[in-house]
Symmetry: C2
Subunit: 245 residues, 2 copies
Amino acid sequence: MLELAGLPADCAKRRATGGCDVCQARPFSVCASVPDADLARLDGLAETVALEPDQALFRQDDPVTHIFNVTSGSLRLSRLLPDGRRQIAGFLFAGDFIGLSDEARHAFAAEALEPSTLCRFRQGDYRALMREVRDLETALLQRAGRELSAARDQALRLGRKSALERLASFLIDLPGIDPLRPATPDVIRLPMTRGEIADYLGLTIETVSRSLTKLKQLGLVRQLSLNLLKVERHDALRDLAEGLG
Amino acid sequence: MLELAGLPADCAKRRATGGCDVCQARPFSVCASVPDADLARLDGLAETVALEPDQALFRQDDPVTHIFNVTSGSLRLSRLLPDGRRQIAGFLFAGDFIGLSDEARHAFAAEALEPSTLCRFRQGDYRALMREVRDLETALLQRAGRELSAARDQALRLGRKSALERLASFLIDLPGIDPLRPATPDVIRLPMTRGEIADYLGLTIETVSRSLTKLKQLGLVRQLSLNLLKVERHDALRDLAEGLG
DNA sequence: CGTTCTCTTGACCAGCATCAAAATTTGTGG
DNA sequence: CCACAAATTTTGATGCTGGTCAAGAGAACG
């Protein structure tokens, strides 16, 4: 029942390459070195959730009742303005947590990009557990710190980068956050649509498409299929992403 | 020596209004209900840092050695692109923490907006302490969650809002994060320059200035002095910030 | 009071959005 | 497997928001 995806990055990587059978089953617990006795208690409290593409885990303004951990697939965290403008605050992949903040309601909706599974705890159970299982809290704090860094990188992207730089930066960062990336390091899987990339990068679908075409023309990436890219010149792409283009 | 500014919001508020003398001295500890024995150990590890305006606490890419807590004043978290473009990821006020992420180097520089003081721990000491003082970690996790929410709100601002909406949204949110706001709820203190607001909102100085003029023309705010605003129509400002304008 | 810095205002321009349509991909039924 | 319909992506033409460049108005400092 318990199926939290690994917190430590190296664990997530081993999972992705299929090298860690134990982690596959209960990666979080093992990687965080939680004693077996506590493991059993975690097992008892965990529930599994499965989502179809576009199905909502929760909606914007829903009360926060659970803590979730993504075990497979990918989701989007999105928020709508009254007039329909949408901002995607982030994409979530195996290992990511949702609901760490102690707010009463979700400011963003979480919806599946593809068939996905999650593991959840009631927030009350979870809080109580954290008071007893020390490593759980430590691991979560580390992860929250990393997510905060990612959110600030996103601010830089949205605030000060051109459309082309935003897309380049997105393509550079994506493999790092998706443990299920293809074995080949420079092949990038895009489980999201152009519209979702646009809403993540604060652009329109058309501009995302045009920017991608530009990257292809510059010879920085090659398109293997609609949602599979190969980075041809990683350094050049990185320079562009960092504003050195 | 120990002078962590309060974690729980109500404590920070009491500090701001001068109502909590004990909190003034060691707000974090008291509010988090840390036992006296642990308090003494915290005291032994804490150091105070004072900064002049524009003085750097650390620079972008510096190694992370300490955890900081702002006890007075305000700072900016900023990052530069090679060509000089600057993005300010956030403003920090009394009570805010820096260095929660476990990364080796700072992705953003921290610089004082005004004369400020901070309390710091060596990261090693701090980690060790967290393993023993339970409430410290719990409180930090809550705070990290809140900062993450704020960072995601910022993504919405930068990604999908117009210049006028960004400024309105900034003015709505600022009092909530600055415990030293004036007693009058609708008077907003701006310890940062127009240029800093611009770099925070992903705009230029000129656009910030024009947008502020527009807000005044619309009768939503009145300018008491260069860096002091009075919100005249809070609901209208909020609607504008949320895209209902 | 004058020097300097910051803020405000104005004129013009560019990057991205908008509107429109063609090209590809995806899904469905025969 | 093919044909057709629907949805998504790409490409093209035009317009607007906000950036750039320039000058003037206030504040802050000695």
